[in-house]
């Protein structure tokens, strides 16, 4: 309905413009043309030069203006929804950036503040090795840390030795059992006089080990996925040892009972 009602006003608009441009109404124009046909030789009645070009230009200008008005109206109608969609899009994209871009397959480090070679990063591939046998790992721990290395006399079947990592007074051995890691960290440093190490407080039960002559305190930790992690800390002289595994209690007790120094 709206479109139909606009068409007559558009015609009137062109008619008005024609009258404004030439000074004649449609009827007057028709009469003038008919008269000109009758007296073609009268120079006073000849149309001015470029008459049709000017007429076309004016008509084109009028059409352009009309179209621009339509465009403005359309933009005004959809401006609010467009802004809303843009804001929502910006929020979604903005919050997603944090997680993306952190993926990759390289190991790298960066120092945020400061510049220059002021921090020496010690991580390198030599520190992370996969000895052919656990024996080599125990030997290396004793040789490099100067402490008695703890070794497992018993590990459940299908336990796989994954790697040994050595870093500034620490040795970490990792085993894989049933899809999860058994970890043992052997450290040169004394923890007695250091910041809070609360293993003594949260223990669940004690395992007696005759090989190293210690009562080992065991923590039983419920994980967020409902599984149970068992962990224990052993201290001897200036060294300390930390063992953790997601495994049955029976197996963990058996492992601790058969721990001995290499």
């Amino acid at each position: 309905m709206k479109k139909a009602s606009q068409e007559p006003s558009y015609d009137n608009y062109i008619e008005q413009k024609l009258q404004g441009a030439l000074g004649y109404s449609e009827e007057q124009l028709l009469a003038e043309f008919e008269q000109a046909e009758a007296q073609p030789e009268d120079p006073d009645l000849l149309p001015p030069k470029d008459e049709w070009r000017k007429l076309l230009e004016r008509v084109n200008d009028a059409e352009k203006k009309k179209l621009e008005e339509h465009k403005v109206l359309r933009l005004k109608r959809i401006a609010k929804p467009l802004i809303l969609v843009a804001v929502l899009g910006a929020i979604l994209v903005g919050t997603g950036i944090g997680a993306s871009g952190k993926r990759g397959f390289e190991y790298w480090t960066r120092e945020l503040s400061g510049s220059g070679n002021r921090v020496v990063w010690n991580n390198n591939e030599d520190n992370l090795v996969r000895p052919k046998a656990e024996e080599e790992a125990y030997q290396r721990i004793e040789a490099e840390l100067g402490i008695d290395a703890i070794m497992f006399e018993y590990l459940p079947n299908d336990t796989e030795f994954v790697e040994l990592e050595m870093e500034k007074g620490h040795a970490r051995m990792c085993f894989l059992y049933n899809g999860e890691y058994i970890q043992i960290v052997q450290s040169l440093y004394n923890v007695e006089n250091s910041a809070s190490t609360t293993s003594d407080r949260n223990f669940s039960f004690i395992v007696k080990n005759e090989w190293i002559s210690q009562d080992i305190l065991v923590e039983k930790n419920l994980l967020s996925n409902g599984k149970i992690e068992y962990a224990a800390m052993i201290k001897k002289d200036k060294a300390h040892y930390y063992i953790s595994a997601i495994i049955t209690e029976k197996e963990f007790v058996k492992m601790l009972e058969k721990i001995k120094f290499y």
Binding site: R118, L128, E167, K168, R172, S187, T198
Partner: protein, 179 residues
Amino acid sequence: MNKLKVFVISVVISCLFSPTVFAATKRGEELTSIRVESRLLPPNQKSSSNIPMPETRGEALSVSMLDISNDGGGVIGVVAMTILHRDVSWGMTTIYLDRWNEEKNTWEFIEEYITEFPSGNNNGETTALTVSMDITNQPSDFYYRIRGLHEIEFINSSDRPMWEGQTTCTDGVFITKTP
């Protein structure tokens, strides 16, 4: 109601109820603070270790360890370990270095060091996140301590992306120029 309004409302509703597909990463100051108290160890004690053992543990993050040591010659030795139960897709260790201000009787934050561990290490499997470094640009004859923020992201057994983090903090160790 025209089609455009229906479309916009549909987009808003779908945004509100769509699941989050990435874990939120919390930043350090929310989790570890300069206001955490630490003792000043006797100057003859060369190192301090922290192995916090909370009663609740993560599904992938077992325990974190943090060490600071007076390595002599003004070198501050740092080791941070994040021990894992399973492979993780991403990890980050942030270490904050604090210096003891004797006049104000308080710890002052000096610098932070960030190590990021993108998916998989050189062996294709991440069993722990370890950072080891020597800080050599700080003045000697001051007490220093470090605070650690250990973060990981992984896909849990229910196939959902998870974030887990733990904080550590050592006691103050006196850093000397002499070996």
